[in-house]
Symmetry: C2
Subunit: 436 residues, 2 copies
């Protein structure tokens, strides 16, 4: 049985997980791979690195690994977009295949990397960059290869999902749950990329590029986080049969492609609404298969290692053959990646949840509904809450049918200008995600 030599760069959370799983399941993995997967060179700054054997080469400078003539596959798990980029480019130019879990790097600098990989005829794999252990990139690129993909909607940030689950099930406030998430290690010390949607947008950029053969472009994605969500909106949504989730949505429409990351009401009958805590799930709707869903752990040491090793094994089948005939990083040749029109958020069409505070005088509600009717917004449901003791204003909640965001915004501005309405309205998008 041939041996495939791995250069493991980074022995942190994910790197340590990769090492541990490769060791624990060595017999099983080599029987499936048809080769021995050997970590023969490790890159780490630690002086006494854990989990290496006496015969393992150790380098403090990871670039040495990319230049090691014995190494077949360089595994980049050092993170960041600078040293990691240099490492990967050096590996490619030395004819090595590359596996990475680095979503920021792929989303931001993927094009440079993929062009170089095509030139040097090596594979760059990044299953672990999106949704941790869920094999969603393999599913999109290979399992659903026959399909024209209509849309995807995913819970792809575990931190946000944990916070929303807690806010929903225990009626807690955002800031309070965020502190707990930090304590539990579900959120970074600086959690801004998780809660402002940046992390989800990077993952969505990768998924959309594969699904629609469009360039990787995080900047074209509309992005909204969860910090502004109020417990009472989550509660009202629940009364109306919806659950609030933070979704990454990519949707192909005749007018253009929607790419957006934001909180959304999801029907309680939809599987996605039952995905709680730090779990991830991606729903994909496509022409031949219909709706399908992939669910599992989206982060953590061994779940992420599971995807890193899956990539290693896939590549190991090509090592020692000169013919690299696997799937392309983005599903098609880089030249076949085409710019398509990305719709600005004002031009998307979806349903909306709308809450505003209104003085409960006769005719007040009808003025608001007239504004919506004039703009062509039809109302799916409307609730006027009871007036709390000692407060002059009542909450009015409206669920609209599908309408262009531009028109919804216009209606909201007009409603906010009514003299019976106090303060700003709260708007949350609502996705029906019709299943099959």
């Amino acid at each position: 049985m041939k041996t495939v030599n791995i250069g493991l760069c980074g022995l942190g959370t994910v790197g340590g997980g990769v090492y541990a799983v490769l060791k624990r399941n060595a017999a099983l993995i080599s029987a499936r791979a048809g080769s021995n997967i050997l970590v023969s060179h490790v890159g780490t700054r630690s002086i006494n690195p854990r989990c290496v054997t006496a015969s393992t080469k150790i380098s403090r400078d990871v670039v040495q690994i990319s230049e090691d003539p014995d190494i077949h596959i360089v595994v980049e798990l050092i993170g960041g977009t600078s040293a990691a980029f240099d490492l990967i480019m050096s590996a490619i130019r030395n004819g090595k295949h590359v596996v990475t879990a680095n979503k920021a790097l792929i989303a931001e600098r993927g094009p440079e990397i993929f062009v170089e990989a095509e030139k040097y005829e090596v594979i760059v794999a990044f299953e672990a960059a999106v949704a941790g252990g869920i094999p969603i990139i393999k599913a999109l690129r290979e399992g659903l290869v026959a399909n024209d993909i209509h849309w995807m909607a995913g819970i792809i940030n575990g931190t946000s999902n944990f916070i929303l689950s807690e806010m929903s099930s225990k009626k807690r406030k955002f800031q309070e749950v965020l502190e707990e998430a930090k304590e539990k290690g579900y959120a970074e010390a600086d959690p801004s990329f998780d809660v402002d949607g940046t992390d989800a947008a990077q993952k969505l950029a990768i998924l959309a590029s594969i699904a629609f053969s469009i360039p990787l472009n995080t900047k074209s994605i509309f992005k909204e986080g969860i910090a502004h969500l109020q417990p009472r909106d989550i509660e009202y949504a629940s009364e109306l049969g919806y659950v609030v989730k933070h979704l990454g949505i990519a949707r192909q429409k005749p007018t253009g492609i929607q790419l957006r990351v934001h909180p959304a009401l999801v029907p309680a009958s939809c599987l996605l609404s039952s995905v709680d805590n730090v779990l991830n799930a991606i729903m994909v709707d496509c022409d031949a298969l219909g709706s399908t869903l992939f669910y599992g752990r989206g982060a953590g040491s061994e779940p992420t290692a599971s995807s890193v090793i899956a990539d290693i094994v896939d590549i190991s089948r090509f090592v020692t053959t000169s013919n690299v005939s696997g799937t392309r990083p983005l599903g098609v040749k880089f030249a076949d990646i085409k710019n398509k029109k990305i719709l600005p958020i004002e031009q998307i069409e979806t349903c909306y949840y709308l809450r505003f505070s209104m003085h409960d005088t006769p005719g007040a509600l009808s003025k608001a509904t007239s504004i919506m009717a004039e703009i062509g917004i039809s109302i799916e449901a409307i609730i006027q809450k009871e007036q709390p003791l000692g407060i002059d204003y009542v909450d009015v909640i409206v669920i609209t049918n599908s309408i262009m965001e531009l028109h919804l915004s216009l209606a909201v501005r007009k409603i906010e200008q009514l003299e019976t309405v106090q303060g700003d309205a709260t708007v949350i998008r609502l996705e029906r995600l019709d299943q099959v």
Copy 2:
């Protein structure tokens, strides 16, 4: 761009779907595959077959397709285990790769086929044989390749799931829903293989063989259908927070492997419980990744075609190279498939739902619970229903903790012999399917 020639044997529901999707998404599929996928030879008994072009060769005898020197991949969609077997063996011996959707054939005669395929160094792929369009075989063999799989539990028969969903949501009876399922085309004219568990057992045999590297053996699977289920048990289960589903379960334990297909109570909080109608879902629990779930359409023309085409595209990457280095049909070399101990159903350990009819006299319930206590069965929940007007007996429902089936059966026999108990007890297994 090279052309890969497909011999499509069978133009029925699935064959027609494969033809339609290959035609509709031709540009998209060829960009992803890196080659043109051309159906150049069709096998059908129809005199004026639909959906073929003037240049397509047509044969009434499918074996001619397996002998056609231009054909790279033979797609077997004629069904049955006799002519289909001969076709596949002929294709292999003529050096063709094979794609099939035939679960009965793979489950029953897979070993003969795979040995021959190893000998002739061709690929035999069968993603469509299990769970229709869900890429579960790819996920098990490739996506989860790093993992030691602990257990799988799947809703893998759409007909049974439709019937149970209707019985549950509308309190209807089995026979009545079965008739509707036949009318809607969800069940065959002879639905016995669907409702008695045979279909699910064949699929489970394939999944378990891949997950645990054990021989394909449908006969070793414990099998129970849904025909005997009473609406009131589904209702009682619901009151207790459970949903009744027909599951295929494969579980690796230190004492041996459990392989079983039967109705089971599933916690309402578990994602599987929300999988309704004809949908399929498979939950896989493994060491590195934890619990993961794959959901989608398990049958139908285009969902099944989606998987057939995914197999075709995977294989197309190896056509025109001499090196077949893809995954093995069962995940490992055929020689690495090892017999492991399969536990008889009496030796499995799980939880149980138990219902019996009892004369409501003082001390009657305590006699029954004493029997269970003596045998070491601990009770998770117990309900004694109100006595219906004019009936002397009440329903008693017990949910047990995990216990060996042998012990449960002993307790049930003793309870049935109590003079306060009328008739036979109803026993349904209960699977907690603890998520992550």
